[in-house]
Symmetry: C2
Subunit: 673 residues, 2 copies
Amino acid sequence: MSRLLQSYAGGHWFTATDAGTALLNAVDSSEVARISSTGLDIAGMVDYARTVGGPALATLTFHERAAALKALGLALMSGKDEFYELSVKTGATKRDSAIDIDGGIGTVLSYASKAKRELPNDTIILDGDVERLGKQGTFLGQHIYTSRRGVAVQINAFNFPVWGFLEKLAPAFLAGVPSIVKPASQTAYLTELVFRRIIESGLLPEGSVQLLAGSAQDLLDHLGGQDSVAFTGSAATAALLRAHPSVLNEGVHFTAEADSLNASILGADAAPGTPEFDLYVKQLVTEMTAKAGQKCTAIRRALVPVDRVDDVISAVSERLSRVVVGNPEMEGVTMGALASTDQRDEVLESVRKLCKSADIVYGSLDISSEAGAFMSPVLLRAKDSRAPEVHEVEAFGPVSTVIGYSGTAEAIELAALGKGSLVASVVTKDSALARDIVLGIAPYHGRILVLNSDDAKESTGHGSPLPVLVHGGPGRAGGGEELGGIRGVLHHMQRTAVQATPEILTAVGNRWYPGTARTVTDVHPFRKNLAELRIGDTIVGGPRKVTRADIQHFAEFTGDTFYAHTDPEAAAANPLFGGIVAHGYLVVSLAAGLFVDPAPGPVLANFGVDNLRFLTPVKADDSLTVTLTAKSITPRTSANYGEVRWDAVVTNQNDEVAASYDVLTLVAKPESE
Amino acid sequence: MSRLLQSYAGGHWFTATDAGTALLNAVDSSEVARISSTGLDIAGMVDYARTVGGPALATLTFHERAAALKALGLALMSGKDEFYELSVKTGATKRDSAIDIDGGIGTVLSYASKAKRELPNDTIILDGDVERLGKQGTFLGQHIYTSRRGVAVQINAFNFPVWGFLEKLAPAFLAGVPSIVKPASQTAYLTELVFRRIIESGLLPEGSVQLLAGSAQDLLDHLGGQDSVAFTGSAATAALLRAHPSVLNEGVHFTAEADSLNASILGADAAPGTPEFDLYVKQLVTEMTAKAGQKCTAIRRALVPVDRVDDVISAVSERLSRVVVGNPEMEGVTMGALASTDQRDEVLESVRKLCKSADIVYGSLDISSEAGAFMSPVLLRAKDSRAPEVHEVEAFGPVSTVIGYSGTAEAIELAALGKGSLVASVVTKDSALARDIVLGIAPYHGRILVLNSDDAKESTGHGSPLPVLVHGGPGRAGGGEELGGIRGVLHHMQRTAVQATPEILTAVGNRWYPGTARTVTDVHPFRKNLAELRIGDTIVGGPRKVTRADIQHFAEFTGDTFYAHTDPEAAAANPLFGGIVAHGYLVVSLAAGLFVDPAPGPVLANFGVDNLRFLTPVKADDSLTVTLTAKSITPRTSANYGEVRWDAVVTNQNDEVAASYDVLTLVAKPESE
């Protein structure tokens, strides 16, 4: 008997108390492993996540979590060979395994890098600008995101045992929410191996990840309003989970990513002989055969102009005829097995349903006598563009249907008949056509790829979700949203509007808000290193008078002789100025002269300026004062400096604001650090 | 017999074919109106919204929709007296009516103004930054939001017949999604009146709003993945709707805003005698009595330090003793009737349940012999801080329970026992305490108010959702999110990741993306008015050499003598520069000199700069070239100019980017416009 897969629960590897169910090799139907969760303390796992994993994650900032993910990604990448070896048993070719394994680890690394660049080195995230809720400025509103205090349950599909689990895990981990990973049984042996390496690495805090191999049993019964379930799989199972009392009554956050009838639209301009026609054909064949078509993002509906249907079918058939189906370990094989013979039988059954309204034009339903889950790619041609089956029945294998359309409006309508898809592609070189189709079908899609000869080289393809772009789709596609960079992190956090005084918002948000007392000390804040500097530290510089001569000189020196700075008569006619005004750039240049501390010190550089607005025109002989206040301090985890954002306000002699902006500087840590 | 309320469906007022059900005056139980939807073509309403309302809205930009909302808000405000008159029959005092009527209309106006300021004058919204998906820059990703092609069904609660309907309508309308408004029967006569004035105004496009008075019948059966249902009401009804097959299987977007057991926490610092203690007591009484406590945001749980329980009870009781309950039309009355006697009986029943674990310390369950739905405010004292009833049973009337806590951690724990609430308030002057409590309870709340003597004057109060802040909460509060400014608009739109060449993204997004061909013409783009200017119009200026003397002079002139610009030895030691560099402000000042066209023309002013980053240091004798390209063009609807955002890139002689930023200008429309 083969090995019984283990769960990782409550800090220990757990072996089920019964023999479990056999998991079969897709290539030869031999037994790979067994699986069972009998005897597993499911409630204990939920409790462990909440009481051990959550609190452990809460002690880490986003940057620290990102560093852990980066280390993990690098560790997994360096040991990926054994994952590839085992992956063959799922029926995957090397190319298929790359999508799953490198794709999954790459997602972890992408999240690590996104979080470091786009999130604060903190445990909460500020959402949007502050809202002034009263005229005096004593009452402000700020939206914040905080980590949910529950567990993220991740129920994955069989087709991507590595990517599917890592793409859900990484955003939850960054959000500070512990995960319980439940792989689909069929390919759980590969998930278990990767998971084992994660635990062995010791890189993730105890309790932050647990593995549930086998039936989820009563897992959902233990969840509540701080927990979430992210499900990938069939629409039918999604509906079942959505109807669970915990979801209906307890506020469990439920999202689904379901297979959908994704369309690929051939633009009217892409006639045979154009590079776009070839790209269309090539992409369709790739999507049919990669993972033997077992991708929720694969092209199921090939929408082509009616007068191009024959051309497309013949070109696709020609290409399909070169596909070699077989054991992925054999030389020359380009399409492997489906995940199991059961799975294959389901696909064949779906093709039979499709045949009610479509004819097979390439391939057949005959299966070889081999023990493995092999089948030929099957291309169909719709008898009628609007026949329900072709827009509703999904054959989750190497199967697509060519459907003719007449005109852009019909192409959009047909795409929408899928009732919501994960992705669509449009192959065209025509920008106006691309715009019409994209805007027409966008409400029905989570992602749209526009492919042509200009981006083909760099295109990541119709079927590839990317960590930086959202993955998911409305309606039939499940209505969920995953990935999308930081968007995927926020899905695990609660958005809360906080109404308070500036002082209290500053304390809550670790960011200085206008209205909070400024700290003016004897020491210039530019002389303080990152450890010494405090939010609210302020330098006031000025006043400095701006003379007509200054303006004139600046115009000559820089060449910016815009009439509002140089021609009194013309400037007087300007509806906004009514006379000569100083250059905005002169105002901020002089302001820097007023706040800069010249000698070498911890401030290394001014690397940028944000949100600069010129509010009151500066006229000749106005006197400028600048107030610069440390607004946020972000130490870098892996450098001997950090970023400091300063609030800058330039006022004139009447206390009117001439300019407001953020100054961005790099400031050194103490030398000892 | 009283008047039968009408529905507005398919462009006509509809009268039910039966006599309907009587709606009673809350004050004296006399009949106000009757209600029924018998005979109404519900499927026809959905179809009308999709085929007439949606397409009509799609022809308007966000700014045009905002203008319509503004006009509507002003029209309703000017005719609000009749709404106040009718509102009395719901049992509302003048103050209660203001929350509902002025609050509702104010929300419409707030949305109009937010949309004009924060949304583009377009029909799609770009979400986040562009993602470079390949090294060459030929393949980019951009998230966009487009309007759903369905209908927004809004099922409102009885307590706010005006605000409840307008706060859901305004964001949907702005999003370009037509609404079907279904008021709670009990107070539908007031909704119907306001709705009638909206239709009469002719300000909203045909089909963009419909009214369903009476039973919703099989409305949900007709909905799909492009439709949404926003429900406000009880958790039980929310669960029922969430289990509807259209929601479970068809991807209908469902959000709920349910009553919750909102807490108000008295800080340990707020001892009797402090202004905060008084604010706490006053706010609690306000929340108990406004709308006779029939607010989903009212305070149900008063969490106070155990040693302050007696003080709070006695101060609150003293204040409650001054409340005058009665017919809101009578002089001196400060608390009106509940919505109906049935409603009051439900509240009394809930108080009896609460009495299992709490004692009544003010008020009683006795009801007067009057016909109206009156009752006394009731204050309870929990026998045990963790008794389940006080955290679970909601009496939707003038009822609150005082619960003692020991220490900050317990206050947070007790607040969380509500299992998710719309709002909590914390009354404290202590910033550190406020931070601990806010971050501790945020995951369980949609909104948190921190009240003290500094913001009390401007505070809008515990119970008031604001259009600019999110309203909704996790778990028991329904898990939904409404309002929050533009966030509430986005909830009605689909987010889609678009992957394409820069050229095609520029066409889709109406915004220039780097990599798209620039248009350099003989005419300087600053000489083109808003109608002549095209996205992609470009001016290239330079080269200009920056000499050591320029840097020295700029340092002296501006006073910015930072060592990296003035001291060769010290500058050489700077880890980022390794030698004298030009001021960043000098670089952008010179760049302006290279691209500005001096003579008067359509460009009125440079009003700001965004996202300025200094990327490659500029050294002495470097030659700078600037490329300025029109990136987006936003005509203002109500001014003779608009905003133009320019992409600015400054490069050195080696084509390295010295600085990149956006220049913001105001540009005039053609004189004839």
